[in-house]
Structure formats: C-alpha cells, structure tokens
C-alpha cells in the first residue's frame, strides 16, 4: 500500500534557497536597525510598519522596497519548486505514488515547512538585530510581537508561494514572480499611499494586507507602533489566510494533476 504521506526529503537546493532568502531578511534587519530606536524599528521589521502610513508622513519608497525584499526573494526562489520537482520525480517517485494528489500533498507540505522555516529565521534575525544593534529594545515585547506576527506572516508568505506556483505551472518562474508579486506589493504600496480613510476601509478585506501586523488593531495588546484599523483582528486574518491558502492549495493540486510531465 502506497504511503499517503510520501515522506521524502527536501532537496538541498531548496533548503539553500530558503536560507538565502532568510539571509536577505537578516541583512535588511541589520541595515535597518543600526543605531536606531528598537521599538520603532520593531514596528517596521516585524509589524510591517513600512507599509503603513504614520502620523504626518507616508512611507518612503526605499523603505517599502527594502521591507519587501526578503519575502519577494523567497517567493521567487520557491516559485518553481512544484514544477521542477514534478519533472524530476517523473521516473522514480511519481509512478510509485498512489496518485498525483498524494504527490502534490507531500510537496506542498514541504513548501509550507520552508515558508515556516523562513519566517522563523527572519523573526529570529529581526529580534537579534533589534536587541544587538538597536537602542532600548525590550526582549519580552519583541518576542511577543514576533510570536503574534508569525501566523499571519507565515500564512501570507505560503499563500504567495502557492499563487506563484500556480502561475509557474503554466508559465515560468519569472512570469509567475513578476505577476503575483507585482499585484501583491502593488496593493500594499497603494494602501500605504492611498488616502487614509480609503485604506482603512479596504485593508481588512484585501488578501495582501492580512499579513501586515501594523494594519491590525493591536493597540489593546500593548504592542508598539501605530494603531491599525479598529476591529481588524489577527484572528480574522489567520482565518482569512487559511481559507485563501486552502483554495490555492486545491488549485495547485488540480493544476498538477492536469499537467503533462514532459
């Protein structure tokens, strides 16, 4: 009986790519934190504060771009995971799997684990950079912020990779990255520059903003940073992103089943 789990190792290439993306995150953290107020930078790094307008100012373009680099790097490097592995696995693994659904389940679980590993590494790098390079950092507060942002950010990253995977199965990795990340970051940048009233009205409903902690109503949690949209809770975003990831997962599984392995 074929194992449903198909517990196969992740190829070293993708582990390296995940580490590389996390290194980009660490570099952004170090460059952002050096000599700056740790609390303010925590909002920027862990809360996605770079995307949220603060009182009297709009986010700088350079801040938006640098905040986007780690996630964009990971998404690009993982966008071809499923399509590449489908070709590589054709002779030996695919013909042994109980079905392509079983195969795609196993591979998408690996993608999820890589996204989680990336987020954990970047969170750890953010905390270390803030404590070691920033001024006045509070370890307890930083740890709490990192934990609270983990689920929505992880789900958001995973959803982005799934969306890119879906496009990459039909097109190629560059097209997938440009199209999906273009829409995603374009939405975030638009929300950060739109009139505040407009942004606050739409932010709870857009997929791209669900992973940005600074847009959420976290003031009552005693966290730093600007007050987000009132009533926009983390639980809502976790449910939203879980449903989105589930839909994308099914679409990727269907596309994998329909794809010719050439």
């Amino acid at each position: 009986m074929t194992s449903l789990a198909l517990a196969l190792p992740i190829r070293r290439t993708y582990l390296r790519r995940t580490l590389a993306a996390a290194a980009v995150g660490a570099a952004v953290a170090c460059a952002s934190c050096a000599g700056r107020d740790a609390t303010a930078m925590a909002t920027y790094l862990m809360g996605g504060g770079a995307y949220v307008p603060s009182e009297g100012g709009r986010p700088a373009v350079l801040s938006l771009v640098s905040a986007s680099l780690p996630t964009a790097t990971l998404c690009y490097l993982l966008s071809g995971f499923v399509s590449s592995e489908l070709a590589r696995d054709s002779s030996a693994v695919l013909v042994r799997a109980r079905s392509r659904a079983a195969w795609s389940t196993a591979r998408l679980v690996q993608v999820a684990l890589l996204c989680l590993a990336f987020r954990l590494l970047v969170s750890a790098a953010d905390c270390l950079a803030l404590l070691c390079l920033g001024r006045g950092g509070d370890p307890g507060g930083l740890a709490r912020a990192a934990l609270l942002s983990l689920a929505p950010e992880c789900l958001a990253t995973f959803s982005l990779v799934l969306a890119e995977t879906l496009v990459a199965l039909d097109a190629d990795e560059v097209t997938a990255s440009v199209s999906v990340l273009g829409v995603h970051f374009g939405t975030l940048f638009a929300c950060s520059w739109a009139p505040v009233e407009v942004a606050r009205a739409v932010v709870p409903w857009l997929p791209s903003t669900q992973g940005v902690l600074a847009w959420h109503d976290v003031a009552g949690l005693g966290l730093w940073g600007p007050t987000g949209v009132e009533g926009f809770g983390i639980a809502w975003s976790v449910c939203y992103l879980t449903a989105l990831a589930a839909v994308l997962w099914c679409l990727v599984a269907r596309a994998t089943r329909r794809r010719d392995v050439l």
């Binding site: 009986m1 074929t2 194992s3 198909l6 517990a7 196969l8 190792p9 190829r11 070293r12 592995e85 070709a87 590589r88 696995d89 054709s90 002779s91 030996a92 693994v93 695919l94 013909v95 042994r96 799997a97 109980r98 079905s99 392509r100 659904a101 089943r257 329909r258 010719d260 392995v261 050439l262």
Partner: protein, 217 residues
Amino acid sequence: MGDDIVLSHATKVIKGRVVLDDVSLRVRRGGVYGFTGVNGSGKTMVFRAISGLIHLTSGEVEVFGRPVRPGDEYPCNLGLILESVGFWDEYTGYDNLRLLASIRGLVGEGEIRRAMERVGLDPSDDRPFETYSLGMRQRLAVAQAVMEAPDLLILDEPTNALDVGGVEMVRDAIVAERSRGATVLVACHNEPLLEALFDQRFRMCDGRIDGGGTDEE
C-alpha cells in the same frame, strides 16, 4: 486482470505539433517489445502515454485491462527509466533506493542490495550520488526500475552512457525480468545486444508506427 497493453488511436498534440499521430498497438503480457526510430520519432512520447505521465489529446491507453489515467494510481507495479531519474544528490546510491522503496514498501534492504549488485554497484559505497559518473547514474537508474519486481518495465534508452559491460548488464536484466514474467518495453537504437531480445519491434517515425509486426530474425 487483462493480459494486454493497448494503445487505441493515441494522438498527442503539443503547441500545434503532432507528436503522436493516431498510434495503435497491442502487446501481450510477458514479452520484450522494442521501439526503434530516430530521435524525435515519438518513442519517448509513447512511453509517457503508457506510463500515465501525459494526457492524450485523443485515444486511450489500457494496461492489463485497466485504463491509464494521469493523476490516478497506476494500474500495476511499474518500473520506469525515462530520461533522467531525479535522485537526491546528497544521498548515497543505496539511500536513494531506500527512499524510493519506502514509498510503496514492497521491498526491504535485501532486495535493494541485490538490485544494486545486479547492476554492478556496491551497496556499501558511501559516496553521494552527486559524485557518480554518468555510467554509475544509469546503473542506479536501472536498479531503481527493477528492484521492486515490476509487472511492467519501461526502459527508454537504458544503455545511455554505459560501457560494454553495462550494456550486457542491461541485457541480462531484461532477460531476467522476462523470465520472471514481466512485460518489458525498450526504446533504443543501434544496440544489437538488446535488439536480439525483442519478441516484437515497433519502428516509429514522425509520431507514427511505421509498419510493425513480429521480428523474424
């Protein structure tokens, strides 16, 4: 379970190009069937269709009485070499086979070791796969195809990168599989050692079977 592998009017069009053109064939269980033809004649595409890796534009594939539908579980125990086999670079040959064997759980360590010895590889060799020569990689590919005693063995250019000893190893493996009752489909060109084993030959040209019938030699 039926005894035949049947392709019925199989056609495959990729980006406007006909790569399989109304191919129909029937092979009986338990023989060795050769597919010959120049590069691009459609041999590999026939194998992809039979092994369920592609969706035919039209036509059907049946293996031992059961339809082959890409995405579903394959109708029988299949051993396959189709272009390169995606082994894990950082694992040894033995560990690679152990990983593959764990998917279906049909064979244990003994069978894996014997499969490696049959193809001339040392199961205790602790070098990772990425250090293997092309010939060693091909031998490992043959080992993974035969280690689970498949009902159907599909070998696409199995002698690539192999020396004379390697070609003889492939020949001996095909003979052993046939004597065990497996059905073997082989694509090759210019390999007299293998072609002498064919019970039937299918010559392919431009995505069609060109003639066919029993090899009288």
